[in-house]
Amino acid sequence: MEAIQRYIAPRSLDEAAEILRAGNVTVLAGGTDLMPQANAGRLPFQPVLMNVRRVPELCGIAKAGGVVRIGALVTISELLESALVRERLGLLWQACDHFASDQIRNAATLGGNVCNASPAGDTLVPLLALEASAVLASKPNGRLEMRRVPLGQFFTGPGRTVRQPTELLAAVELPLPPKGFAGEFYKHGTRPGLDISAISIAFGAVVERKLLTRVRIAFGAVAPTPIRAPRTEAVLEGRAPDAAILEAAAQAALAEIHPISDVRASDWYRRELVRNMLKRVISHVGLL
């Protein structure tokens, strides 16, 4: 049985990074993933439990120079209540609207969802489609440093990321999507709320004279990490989404995903869902 030897709640990012530099730290934010994982024995506690909830630098949503910075501690409920997120980052807003339950949305943080790195993580799919980056803070030489990693390179496997144990996710940064960019998030589960996705899709594009440009597609729960689908995007780029193009996009997507069979769905069913639901979300957005 692992034992926590020290509990600490730092009051600044500098202090938090210093604690991480010393090593052997479990980071606690909303607790909604940490608590059940620890109780189930899937995540042994490190000797130091660091609660980052009182670090002010990790809070708030701000826009500057065409980039939206969302602090790692921003909860799913706060994202839902943000006019900026609703109006300019609609894909992310929709995923938050499908996220778990009110009780979980009030506690769960965006940073926690990113660091938990579930292949089915609800916010990760729109974040990938919106070309978000992770901002990682550390103190390697006695000075606070920030490293930016595009989310496309952040996830390395189920529950695994490129974040080093000495680094803390400080924020997620997203460039504002181009004017006219519209999107749709789709999640399939057996219950409307509180379900882990069997698959999820984020599709976005600028629609002009029925042609799709700036196409972005990401999938959840069909590979060891959430993934972007660049070859599927290329099939759609500059095209009108007629039946033939939709089928071509679906076929391209099937070649880009690598689903498994598990308790939530079989490989076959996930492929059927992707094939049919991708067509549906493209049609919805294309008809705007």
Partner: protein, 173 residues
């Protein structure tokens, strides 16, 4: 030997100081350390909502919250909600609509419903259903529960307009 931490918080309006193990959940603290057994332990992983409490005015699953994280915060449990005017209104509506069967989910539903009514006073059936999606009832359907919450919201709305007792003539025992 596991680490302990000293915390200070407000519980149902009363200031509390406590020393808790670092990995204790808020639910365990409420039930086992403070004797507040209204908040129920069921799934222990945030699926069922039986342990719902209010923290700084928002509902969350106390089974997923570390007790250490209560430091500096304001907690309201079903005992606190029940003592409020809205809690009384909800309790009467649950009884009047037959929304209680075994009762295990009821405290969590009462807390979640109070949050829902505070934030969406005019919630229709769809909004109530959405608002309680994190609360499971395994006895019966949700129909009576949804009707009870709507009933409470309506009675409270009327009472607020008139500035009156939401359930005139009914006993509040």
């Amino acid at each position: 030997m596991s680490a302990y931490c000293d915390i200070e918080f407000t519980l149902n309006g009363v200031r509390r100081q406590l020393t808790v193990p670092a990995k204790m959940s808020t639910l365990e603290m409420l039930r086992e350390r403070l004797g507040l057994r209204g908040t129920k332990y069921a799934c222990g992983e945030g699926e069922c909502g039986a342990c719902t409490i209010l923290v700084d005015g928002r509902t969350l699953n106390s089974c997923l919250m570390f007790a250490a994280d209560c430091d500096g915060r304001e907690l309201l449990t079903v005992e606190g909600v029940a003592a409020s005017e809205l809690g009384e209104c909800l309790r009467n509506a649950f009884v009047a609509n037959g929304a209680v069967q075994c009762g295990f989910c009821t405290p969590g539903l009462m807390v979640q419903a109070s949050h829902l009514i505070e934030h969406h006073p005019g919630a229709d059936a769809a909004a109530v259903r959405r608002g309680i999606e994190g609360n499971l009832c395994r006895c019966t359907g949700y129909k009576k529960i949804i009707e009870a919450i709507q009933d409470a919201a309506e009675k409270r709305g009327h009472a607020e307009k008139r500035g009156q007792d939401p359930f005139p003539g009914e006993s509040h025992g």
